[in-house]
């Protein structure tokens, strides 16, 4: 059984700016929404505590604004997604409608979790990130195009160079960001590695040999 993993070499859509450095995953998805056994429906809780007060009245937040309702590119600042490793964070953003992020920098586990969902986390310098945020605010319907392979972002009629981590770019472009099937096909090498480890008594997996 092999599923085709799509290549993510190009993402486009309108943007939504989320301003602030060190935005942690507790803000992206508060812990009380982690009590779910599937990720379905988690998108509505993205940035919940930033968007609603204690009585569930909406507050000022870009995700509450009608003009950003169709956004698919989130533009952020530095160290976005720091804190806990919860994959609920990118899951919530993806289910809210985000297909890619542009920012000054991303926390590592967060970026890794995004990659596992096929979401590029593209980086640029701080000034450029702020500039794009401002442009998005002025042009909420404006189209942002991210060329993952070429490492460029186009907006406002121009194209700028950005950075996509090498491994991330290759994984996205080649459609190998979903690693399960790929790794499972290396059964023999897995076994050989396990055999070399003094603390492993039984190098042979119980299952997984015959079914693929």
């Amino acid at each position: 059984m092999t599923e085709e993993v799509p290549s993510v070499d190009f993402v486009s859509g309108s943007g939504v700016p989320i301003r602030g450095n060190d935005i942690d995953t507790d803000q992206i998805i508060p812990a009380r929404f982690l009590k779910v056994v599937t990720f379905d429906g988690i998108g509505q809780f993205a940035f919940f505590d930033q968007r609603f007060d204690d009585d569930d009245n909406p507050k000022d937040h870009p995700l509450n604004e009608e003009r950003y309702a169709d956004a698919s590119v989130m533009v952020v600042n530095s160290n976005f997604g720091c804190g806990s490793s919860r994959e609920h964070a990118p899951q919530a953003l993806q289910r809210w409608g985000i297909d890619a992020l542009i920012g000054e920098s991303f926390a590592e586990i967060f970026a890794g979790n995004c990659l596992a969902l096929g979401i590029p986390t593209v980086t640029t310098d701080g000034d450029t990130a702020r500039e794009i945020q401002q442009w998005v605010e002025e042009n909420p319907d404006g189209e942002i195009e991210i060329d993952v392979a070429a490492e460029t972002v186009s907006f406002d009629g121009r194209t700028i160079d950005v950075e996509v981590d090498d491994a991330q770019r290759k994984a996205l472009v080649d459609g190998i960001w979903d690693t399960t099937a790929l790794m499972k096909s290396n059964q023999e090498s897995i076994k050989r590695t396990a055999e070399q480890l003094p603390y492993i008594d039984d190098p042979t997996p119980r299952t997984g040999q015959a079914d693929d």
Partner: protein
């Protein structure tokens, strides 16, 4: 590029192959699972019609949502009950061992691994939890992973990762009175920043680290992630081996212990190893640390003034300003005397036996301040039993603390233990992010267990060293 470090050696030993995307596929020696991050991964596995490859190398516990008071089933909170039931179903189907509360071995995932001897030097350890870095205290290569990676590990017992750079952090000198591992790591994070470790694995070394017991080393490695490093470790030594010899894994199997000890010795960083970066911190200059803000990097010595936002690099200034607003503090003040409503002694950073012992010593013969709700949440059922055997529970109860069951509790407010409104919590946990302890207005001040104890009895942030002087007088 680093060479000859424990990280390099353990990585190489576990490397299955290099994947076409440039990442390495690593064999996973121990996969720990808990109720919050695993159900979705089991779901993905089912969708693909795959089975768990190595149930024998997978170990489960329940910690995050478990109530720490009434644990009768079904749990009062429906979501908690649903997650627990899901975990039980998943481990049963796959044949994975689960430390549910009935076993007497349940506890926070980063407490139970080490105490059962599952955590060993030279193992790769992963868990869907960022504080998996804790296990690095034993010289294991341990990192938190996301749900899709949990799926990968369940399906293949391997994980795809990129190799990181290695930074050696040497903490020299002797730690002062009442200065603990927690103060050391809060100092490291303050100096290097909450994102200073991004792209790095931290190797902790130096006299001050070597002199720590395993629990202190765990507190340090635990918070590597708060410093941005996905993993941190200490090279195994006699202290490590002494601890391991007395765990379930080796207590009755000294031969196996000796055999593996050779492996453990072999993976220690070479004396002439190359590091990508080396940082030295003077351990003797550290005093008890408390946080004044809303990130773990915003810490100061108890006698130091709160910095003004302008003192920070530009990208950190708005964070500092927001933090000071949230906490209601002014630059120039110290944190001493800051009113405390809740004292929380718990979490995978600081809820092991020596943590509780040290706090009990401060608490003994005193009473919790009238305005303070104080609770002790031991890291595991074993820690709880051991503490009770020493009578620590009575000391805490006599002083006015609640003595709870084991779990994560108020560290992240997923069960009923939460801050209310704008309450301030003196907390031995690891994160002071806004909302972390269950209330958006709530305020968290991170500190060591003895400092939490001092804050509990005084009702305000207090230098524990001064408290002791009072007691002696």
């Amino acid at each position: 590029m680093s060479r000859g470090t424990l990280y390099d050696k353990v990585w190489e030993k576990h490397r299955v192959t290099t994947l076409p995307n440039g990442q390495d596929q690593l064999f996973v020696g121990l996969h720990l699972i808990h109720e919050v991050t695993s159900p979705q991964a089991f779901g993905m596995l089912r969708e693909r019609d795959m089975e768990v490859a190595r149930p024998d190398l997978t170990h489960g516990t329940v910690d995050h949502i478990l109530p720490t008071d009434d644990q009768s089933r079904p749990y009062e909170n429906e979501a908690a009950e649903e997650m627990m039931a899901e975990l039980e179903k998943n481990v049963r189907e796959a044949g994975i061992e689960l430390d549910h509360p009935g076993t007497g071995d349940q506890g926070i995932v980063h407490v139970i691994g080490p105490e059962q001897g599952l955590t060993q030097p030279g193992k790769t350890i992963v868990c869907g939890d960022s504080h998996t870095s804790t296990h690095g205290a034993f010289g294991a290569l341990a990192f938190g992973i996301g749900t899709s990676q949990i799926r990968d590990v369940l399906a293949t017992q391997t994980v795809a990762m990129e190799k990181q750079a290695v930074r050696r952090i040497e903490v020299t000198g002797e730690l002062g009175e009442a200065v603990t591992a927690k103060d050391v790591i809060l100092t490291i994070i303050r100096e290097l920043g909450t994102d200073g470790g991004v792209g790095y694995v931290y190797e902790y070394a130096g006299e001050a680290i070597e002199n720590l017991g395993m629990e202190g080393r765990m507190s340090i490695c635990n918070m590597s992630i708060e410093g941005g490093a996905r993993a941190g470790y200490v090279n195994p030594d006699e202290t490590t081996y002494e601890w391991l010899a007395d765990t379930d894994a080796f207590r009755d199997d000294p031969e196996r212990f000796e055999e593996l000890k050779q492996y453990w010795e072999s993976i220690r960083s070479d004396p002439d190893a190359d590091y990508d970066d080396v940082v030295t911190i003077d351990g003797s200059a550290i005093e008890p640390v408390v946080t004044w803000g809303t990130t773990p990097g915003q810490g100061i010595g108890i006698s130091e003034p709160i910095p003004s936002p302008e003192e920070f690099p530009e990208t950190k200034q708005d964070v500092a300003e927001r933090a000071q607003q949230h906490m209601g503090v002014e630059p120039g003040e110290t944190m001493q005397g800051y009113d405390v409503d809740v004292a929380f002694l718990g979490s995978c950073t600081n809820a092991r036996l020596p943590d509780l012992r040290a706090a009990a010593e401060v608490v003994e013969g005193r009473t919790v301040d009238d305005g303070v709700r104080a609770l002790v949440v031991p890291g595991s059922q074993r820690v709880k039993r051991a503490a009770e055997a020493e009578g620590l529970d009575e000391i805490f109860r006599d002083a006015g603390f609640e003595w709870r069951g084991a779990g994560c509790s108020m560290c992240l407010g997923m069960n009923d233990d939460q801050l209310e409104g704008a309450e301030t919590c003196a907390s031995s946990s690891n994160r002071n992010f806004v909302g972390r302890q269950g209330s958006k207005e709530g305020r968290t001040i991170l500190m060591s267990p003895v400092m939490v104890a001092a804050a509990a009895v005084e009702g305000e942030v207090t230098d524990v060293r001064e408290l002791e002087e009072v007691a002696l007088a």
